[in-house]
Symmetry: D2
């Protein structure tokens, strides 16, 4: 039995508690939130679980094996550091930290103390993303040409981050998980309409070798919610509409064929158009699957796919995208030698 | 009665002829195409119209008052020049020309000979775009925050242009027509997967003053067709889905409100969410309305909204987007003093 | 504080408990289910609430003020009877009972003991149905012409009822709530493909005076889920798509106009086609609103709109539809004098 | 070369002429319409084709081999009779005739004179319906359980027919083509809101043996256009949404499995839910394919699938549906012995 303390019971925390409660091998022993009104709700929903206002009670409690940190990103480093120093494994809401340095320090600390870090990249545990990884890994799509994500809605302004830090972690963590190649360069555009220095619209482009291009459109100001990703491969193409109830993934037998007749200037391009196929997806709630995997990794001393390094890779991309944006859309080249180990993607490993 | 010769009977030419035939004040006197097999189709469909293989017959014919040039863009300049030199008004398929210089020379030639140029920016004659202009002009949307267009499909490779020159003329001509502000800078990213130096995917961002940002996503490699535009304003927001049969335009009473309490660091951002409204649109075929307007402008000696200058403005944006793309995504600043008259938008004028 | 015992913790019971838990004025004191494995889940989720296998403990407990009966319909009568006999108010899952006689007896028993019956017609507490009632009541739609509901999906076979008793209670309770007229006749068709005497497809038509016609299409064998209702009125028409996330209700300024020129044989029919409007709906969870209303009615001694009489009216329609179906689709006339008080709809009253 | 005269140039006639013009083996020699203003349009579009106001010129012209009758149904019999008496093959708009007797007489007349009748059941020539027939014929769907069609829109009132005669011919002709079984009984409900004795809403149910049930929902008063058909089979299920641009047909690997344990009272019903598959459909215009087939049947002396008998079967179903409706929804049994040859479906034959 793994005893867990949960810090943060705002938007996502209740989901973490609900799922942990439903997993046989874990018990939620403490819920902590700094706001009394929220803590009161927690107590009403879970009268049998101990609650507290001060996170120190959680990180120092001898009963607790692991801490779930479900708070605003600006607090992650402090809370995670103290949890690790007190010998607790940590499950940290995405994005992992506010800076590369913070992430690196937490990774070092966890390694030193032989503790696990899992960053809550929930999407890679959905049936949809697992299917996408499968059809990329087994070469159903063929060489990738592009990955184009639109993630827009009338969102809630975050007080401590811009739209990139709020929405793009989803895309960066998914790309990190499904694409084996490493980005060679990055560029971002955007706008801030509130005037607080926090962009509410951003467009990010990643360049890869072998012609792969990735584009991410994130927007807090859209009147309609769109969660639409196009993935084009040499052999097939895929559409992922996450708002569809039943047919989230559609795979099209479409593409083009280049016939090379007597050199580059005589290329003939033809289109192929065939059937479409929508595979059945696993239905288990992604967060539940992820939390079970957290327990599994601790109990079997395994390194999670979404470990501190994965969290760091996402933080690095957020940091660079933000940097490009603040500099008016400068292209940022990712030096191969330096970045190699840092930007290695998580795509060669599979969640069991 | 205005006598018209049509050059080019491939994809769009038959639509031009069909609509001209249905307008009382015009008569199609000649159809020209350099491919005999296409010319044969024209003759079968319109046995009473004279056909010819050589465009010179059209541009020099004394019977002809105006020439519709519906051919690939690389031929526009040559055909248009000769038509103007022979005293014919011209209706030219978009994009107007392959270069800024060509467009400027045709404009000068038309002015000198007192002839009209209309560039076939068909979209600005659709019920949808007319309604968008109306709700921007009458301040229903309020100050504009962003304009975000996705125009993707499994397209036909054009042999003489990339995806920007093929698809973005639609967006540039619409933006030119509905947005009064002038862009201050432009940047484009993209990729070429065929390896012929012609990009099949491109992302273009335009920066304006007053925080307006425009983004255009054009893609020839998408397995699904998307024609989706989001327009965010201070007061209301608009979604234009051109593939919807009946409700192409939806206007949302959504937005955000900034309360300024004691300075910028205490801004409070709240969301508004109200009703949605989908106005009835005019149903007349856009091309028919445009061609009637062409006749109207010639008969009344009026300058069309979509005149050579409008065509030039679009060519200029295409040229700059292409330049940015080829330079690996460089930001291109549009010098105010130089560009002022050139980039003045067409938005202060209305089609009757 | 109203103390409630909940009997049945299968599919819907957990929702009832979760919502009751979130209402300040109530406390769930006992959860009962006859299946030990389900009871175990209840105990894990709510360790502080007493659980029991035998419903008698609930209905006889002196601590309990009201009982929520969330079990298969065949058990409702027995459970409800004993609860009422023991002085408990009851909240009963729809459909109310298996027969008209059972419903009538429960109503008499409740009246005798001065207790409240609420039948869980959840849909009439949704933002969508409340808006539909509003636009019918305030004559936005004008005189009603038709109400056409399609409610199909790949459903779970119920072991004790056919598709009419499973899905049509939704439609009958909604119609009862929003339509003031009374049906004059009813007819039903259907088919049973399993061969157990329980139809999995049924089509029900209700005839009203003043030309109103109601049609209900229920199907357990559809590969796709559809929850689509069309309501046509003389002035406007309404579409309710309950699977839409944000625009469930759309109101169309469409209809037809009859011009009577020199008698019936010279009627001229013209169509009107105007704007569409999608009103913002209330977002509170329907079941929560309903349970609050249950508490309100008990505390203020008010008769709920969805009382035993409403439950009886729905049971009556289900019974007659089933009768018509079993008789091969016979038209059943509803005798005015006899049925008047029984089939009086609930539409003249409003939920506060 | 087959010389054709076309009578009727209103809504559908121009499509017939346009497609005939595009077929190499035919020539349209005459266009006839009794309204001068419509005839003028025909002359402007086709200045080289002879036009006339009086249909007698067409049916008696010695140049004409076949007559296409594209007029209101009330005129079909008279026009078709005279064409056949004058030795012309006929292509008749659906529905074939206003009565069973008329259809039977035309069939006899055509047989006597060795002439072909083709009834314009256009839908059976669409890629969608051809695919449906294919997956029923090759047993992909397995035994059919139900066929449920919704065909509603804000339609144009027809002055001579009700909604059944206007919209249901599509469904009856499709069912006749794809379903091998014969209906055993029929029942129809509906309403007339204009008060002219012509229903604008109707619901038709057909009973077959082997548990197959067919339901047709036709409505002229819907604010939205729906063309949605569900087909449930023992092995797979199919959805046909004719308003989808690219994925009109979706085939679902869904269904249910009945395990018979110890007799009927211990049946266990389980659901299967697998992948979905959307096959690519042929894209040729249905009317063009049909008219080519008309020429083919005449030139090769073949009997079309959509011959007079198919037209008669559809007229019979329309007549019986109307009869049931007018009698307040009476069930009409189709006597096996009498109806056998008349109601034999067209489903055992294939269009080449």
């Amino acid at each position: 039995m793994l005893n867990i303390g949960v810090i943060g019971f705002g938007y996502w925390g209740p989901n973490v508690v609900r799922n942990l409660t439903a997993i046989r091998e874990t018990a939620v022993k403490m819920i902590c939130d700094s706001q009394p009104v929220i803590l009161k709700e927690a107590r009403e929903l879970y009268p049998h679980i101990r609650v507290c206002l001060d996170y120190k009670e959680v990180v120092t409690s001898p009963d607790i094996d692991a801490v779930a940190i479900v708070t605003p990103v600006s607090t992650h480093y402090q809370l995670a550091k103290q949890a690790l120093e007190n010998g607790k494994h940590i499950f940290v809401e995405k994005p992992f930290t506010r800076s590369i340095e913070e992430a690196e320090e937490l990774i070092r600390l966890a390694e030193k103390n032989h503790l696990k870090i899992m960053v809550d990249h929930t999407f890679i545990f959905t049936g949809a993303v697992r299917k996408i990884k499968e059809v990329i890994d087994n070469n159903t799509l063929g060489d990738l040409y592009y990955y184009d994500s639109t993630r827009v809605s009338l969102g809630l302004y975050q007080h401590d981050v811009n739209v990139i830090w709020d929405l793009a972690p989803h895309d960066f963590s998914i790309i990190d998980y499904v694409i084996k190649n490493k980005p060679l360069a990055l560029i971002a555009q955007g706008a801030d309409h509130v005037g607080r220095g926090q962009e509410n619209i951003a467009y990010i482009t990643l360049y890869y070798d072998k012609k792969l291009i990735v584009h991410i459109n994130v927007n807090w100001l859209s009147p309609v919610k769109v969660r639409h990703t196009l993935i084009g491969g040499k052999k097939k193409m895929l559409v992922w509409d996450d708002l569809e109830a039943d047919e989230k993934i559609k795979i099209y037998d479409k593409g083009f064929i280049v016939e090379n007749k007597e050199g580059i200037h005589h290329l003939r391009v033809d289109y192929r158009s065939g059937d479409m196929w929508s595979p059945r997806l696993e239905h288990e709630e992604a967060l539940k699957r992820e939390l079970k995997y957290f327990v599994h990794c601790i109990e079997n001393d395994e390194t999670p796919v979404n470990d501190g390094q994965a969290g760091l890779r996402v933080v690095k991309m957020l940091t660079l995208a933000d940097l490009s944006l603040k500099n008016g859309g400068t292209l940022i080249k990712l030096q191969k030698n330096v970045e190699d180990e840092l930007l290695a993607s998580g795509a060669d490993r599979n969640i069991p």
